[in-house]
Amino acid sequence: MEFVFDREKNKEKIEELEFFIAENKDMPGILMPALQETQRIFGYLPLEMLQVISRRLSIPMSEIYGVATFYSQFSFIPKGENIISVCLGTACYVKGAQKILEEIEDQLNIKAGNTTPDLLFSIDSTRCIGDCSLAPVILINEDVYPRLKTDDIKGILDKYRKEV
C-alpha cells in the first residue's frame, strides 16, 4: 500500500525530526533513538523520513530496514483513525466472519493489516474477543457490532465516514 506523504502538511513534524537528528548526530548508536523518535512523531516510519535519516546519518537504507523490521514496535504504515478489528475466533469464523472480513476489505479496497489511503480506516483481524454468543462480531475502536450480516457493513462504515 502506497501512502502519499504530504511534506507540506508534515512540515512541522519534519522539522522536529530534523532538529532531533541535528542535536544527536554524534551520539553513538543513534539509529534506534532516531527510529523511536520518528515513530513517536509520525505514528509510524514514513519511507521519506527513513531516507532523511539515511542521508543525515550516512547509514544505508538496507541497514535501516534491517533494524526497523527486527523490532516489533516499529510500523511502516500509518494506523487509520478508526481501527476495525474483525474477530476470526472459532465461533465467529463458523458464523461467517471470513465473509464479513472480505466484505469490509472490498468496501474499503484494502486487505486486513492495512490502512486506507485517506487514513480513515485500518483493518485488523483478532483472535476470540470473548463475545462468542454474539458471533460474528467486529470491533470498531471501542464499539462492538454483534451478529453481523454482510449487508450491515456498508451502513456501519458510513457512520464513521460521516462522523469525520
Binding site: P28, G29, I30, L31, M32, P33, L35, Q36, G66, V67, F70, Y71, S72, Q73, F74, T90, A91, C92, V94, K95, C132, S133, L134, A135
Partner: protein, 529 residues
C-alpha cells in the same frame, strides 16, 4: 557541587518531614533502628532489601531517598574506599546476579576491573520481558535512585564513567521516573562530573527497547544499544573484556543493582546473615496465576516454595487443588506439588530442572493443563526467537507444531520421543540462553507430568479439561428444557422441544462454552467433560 556535609544536612532536614507524612498515611512501622517497613500480614513474612523503599518514599523526590540513607553508600565508597576494596567487598558479600543466571557479581566486576582500557561501561538491564514478571518494573518506578546509586558504585569500582540503562519500551512510567531521577541526581551533583568533590565522573543515559524479548540477553542488548538488530553475539570474548563498542562492559540486572547500596550501608556480614551460604540475600518474586494473594514477594533465599505459595500467597483460589508452580518464565520449568518443600535458591531449583530466573512464579491448579502450559511458553519462544541460529529458529517451531498436535488430539505415540530428542538438540546446539533454555518447560512437564501427555495422546483426553479440542459439553438430565442454551449457541447445534431434555450435536459443537454460561445457575445442567 554537593559535599558529604550537605548530604547529611538534606537528610536531617527531610527525615522528619518523611516520617510525619508516613505516620499520617498510617500504613508503615518505623523501627528503633530507623528502618521503615510496610504494615500488614502480607509484608510481615517478607524481608525487603531490593524493595525496601517501594511504597514508602516518593520516587519523584530525591530528598526522600536521601532521608532513608540514600547516596550515603556511594559517598562512603568514593571517599573511603579504593576500587579494589569495593570489588573485594562485593566478592565477600556473595551477591549473585538477579537477572537469571546467578553469576557472582563481585567476580564479574573484577574481570572488567582488571582490563586496562580508555573507556569502560556499566549497563543496567531493565528489559524485563518474561511474561508475568514485574519485579524490576516495581523497583524502577518506585525506587529509581537505588538503581542509579548501585550503578555509580559499580562504575567507580571497575573504572567506568558512563552508564546505560536499557529499558523496555512497554514501561513508559519507569522511563519517566528514571529520567526525572537522573536529572535530580545530576542537579545535586550525585551524578555527572566530580561527584562529591572526589574527582569521580559518572553519567547515565537511558536507551529504550522496541519490543524484542531477546534484547534482554546481554550481547543482544549491546547490539541494540549500538543501533543494530538485537541478535546475540557468538561469545568469543566476555563482555567484561569486549562488550559495548568493544570496550569492557558490565551488565547487571535492576534488582542486582538495587542490592548494592544496601550491602555497603549495612555491611557484608549483615548481608551474608540473610539467605543461604551459596545464595546470600533475598530474591523478589512476582507471584501470579491461580493464587489467592498475587503480588510482589521478597523473601530470603532458601525459603521454601510452600512458604511462598501458601503462607504468603494464601494458596490456590477457590480451594482448588494445587498442582504446580512454574518459575523462570519461558526458560524455566514446572515444579510439581510433591516438590513444594524445595528451598528457593539457585542450586536447589537447578537440581529439579527449573531455574531461579528473574523471578516470575506462576501458580497452577487442577484446571491447568501442563501440556497446554508447555505449548504456551513454546509459542512465546517461537515468536521471540531472533532467527540467528538454526536449532532455536527451526527446532522450537517443530516442537510447537508437535505440541499443537498433541493438545488438539492428533498426537501420536512417537511424539513424546520426538519432543525429547528435539529438546536435547535445541538445548545443546543453540547460540544463546534463549534457545538453550527454550525446551525447559517441555522437559520438566515431560518429567513430572508425563501422564498428562499420555492421556492426550493415547486416550485423547485432557485431564484438566482445558484443551478445547479434547473436551465436550454435555447436557445432563437436570435440564428443564428452558431453551436458554439453544438460543445462546452460535452454531445452532442444540436441539430439544420445550420443557424437554436438550441435546448438543457433538459433531457441530465448536466448544465455545456459551451454553454453559447461558444455563441458569440454579439448574447447571450443562457440564464440561
Amino acid at each position: 557541587m554537593i559535599t558529604i556535609e550537605e548530604l547529611k544536612r538534606i537528610k536531617e532536614e527531610q527525615r522528619p518531614i518523611l516520617e510525619k507524612r508516613l505516620i499520617e498515611q498510617g500504613n508503615v512501622n518505623i523501627n528503633e533502628d530507623g528502618s521503615i517497613v510496610l504494615n500488614g500480614d502480607y509484608y510481615k513474612k517478607q524481608v525487603r532489601i531490593a524493595l525496601k523503599n517501594c511504597g514508602i518514599i516518593d520516587p519523584n523526590n530525591i530528598k526522600e531517598y536521601i532521608a532513608v540513607d540514600g547516596y550515603f553508600a556511594l559517598a562512603n565508597c568514593l571517599i573511603n574506599k579504593k576500587a579494589k576494596d569495593i570489588i573485594e567487598d562485593m566478592k565477600a558479600s556473595g551477591l549473585r546476579g538477579r537477572g537469571g543466571a546467578g553469576f557472582p557479581t563481585g567476580r564479574k566486576w573484577e574481570t572488567a576491573f582488571l582490563y586496562d582500557a580508555d573507556q569502560k561501561y556499566m549497563i543496567c538491564n531493565a528489559d524485563e520481558g518474561d511474561p508475568g514478571a514485574f519485579m524490576d518494573r516495581s523497583i524502577l518506578e518506585n525506587d529509581p535512585h537505588s538503581v542509579l546509586e548501585g550503578m555509580a558504585i559499580g562504575g567507580y569500582s571497575i573504572g567506568a564513567d558512563k552508564g546505560f540503562i536499557y529499558v523496555r519500551a512497554e514501561y513508559p512510567l519507569a522511563v519517566r521516573r528514571l529520567r526525572a531521577a537522573i536529572d535530580q541526581a545530576k542537579e545535586l551533583g550525585l551524578l555527572g562530573n566530580n561527584i562529591l568533590g572526589t574527582g569521580f565522573n559518572f553519567d547515565i543515559e537511558l536507551r529504550l527497547g522496541s519490543g524484542a524479548f531477546v534484547c534482554g540477553e546481554g550481547t543482544a542488548l549491546i547490539e541494540s544499544i549500538e543501533g543494530k538488530r538485537g541478535m546475540p553475539r557468538t561469545k568469543i570474548y566476555r563482555t567484561a573484556h569486549k562488550g559495548l563498542w568493544e570496550k569492557p562492559t558490565i551488565i547487571n540486572n535492576v534488582e542486582t543493582f538495587a542490592n548494592v547500596p544496601v550491602i555497603f550501608q549495612k555491611g557484608v556480614d549483615w548481608f551474608r546473615s540473610i539467605g543461604t551460604e551459596k545464595s546470600p540475600g533475598t530474591k523478589v518474586f512476582a507471584l501470579v496465576g491461580k493464587v489467592e494473594n498475587a503480588g510482589l514477594v521478597e523473601v530470603p533465599m532458601g525459603t521454601t516454595l510452600r512458604e511462598i505459595v501458601f503462607d504468603i500467597g494464601g494458596g490456590t483460589q477457590n480451594g482448588k487443588e494445587f498442582k504446580s508452580v512454574q518459575t523462570g518464565g519461558p526458560s524455566g520449568g514446572c515444579i510439581p506439588a510433591n516438590l513444594i518443600d524445595t528451598s528457593v535458591d539457585f542450586e536447589s531449583l537447578d537440581k529439579i530442572g527449573s531455574i531461579m530466573g528473574s523471578g516470575g512464579m506462576v501458580v497452577m491448579d487442577e484446571n491447568t493443563c501442563m501440556v497446554d502450559i508447555a505449548r504456551y511458553f513454546l509459542d512465546f519462544t517461537v515468536d521471540e526467537s531472533c532467527g540467528k541460529c538454526v536449532p532455536c529458529r527451526e527446532g522450537t517451531k517443530r516442537m510447537l507444531e508437535t505440541l499443537d498436535k498433541i493438545v488438539s488430539g492428533k498426537g501420536e505415540e512417537e511424539d513424546i520421543e520426538k519432543l525429547e530428542s528435539l529438546s536435547e538438540t535445541i538445548t545443546l546446539g543453540s547460540l544463546c540462553g534463549l534457545g538453550q533454555t527454550a525446551a525447559n518447560p517441555v522437559i520438566t512437564t515431560l518429567k513430572y507430568f508425563r501422564d498428562e501427555y499420555e492421556a492426550h495422546i493415547q486416550d485423547k483426553k485432557c485431564p484438566a479439561g482445558a484443551c478445547v479440542d479434547l473436551v465436550e459439553y454435555f447436557i445432563t438430565d437436570k435440564c428443564i428444557g428452558c431453551g436458554a442454551c439453544a438460543r445462546a449457541c452460535p452454531v445452532d447445534c442444540i436441539s430439544g422441544a420445550k420443557k424437554e431434555l436438550h441435546v448438543i450435536d457433538q459433531d457441530r459443537c465448536i466448544k465455545c462454552g456459551a451454553c454453559m454460561e447461558a444455563c441458569p445457575p440454579k439448574i447447571s445442567a450443562v457440564i464440561k467433560r
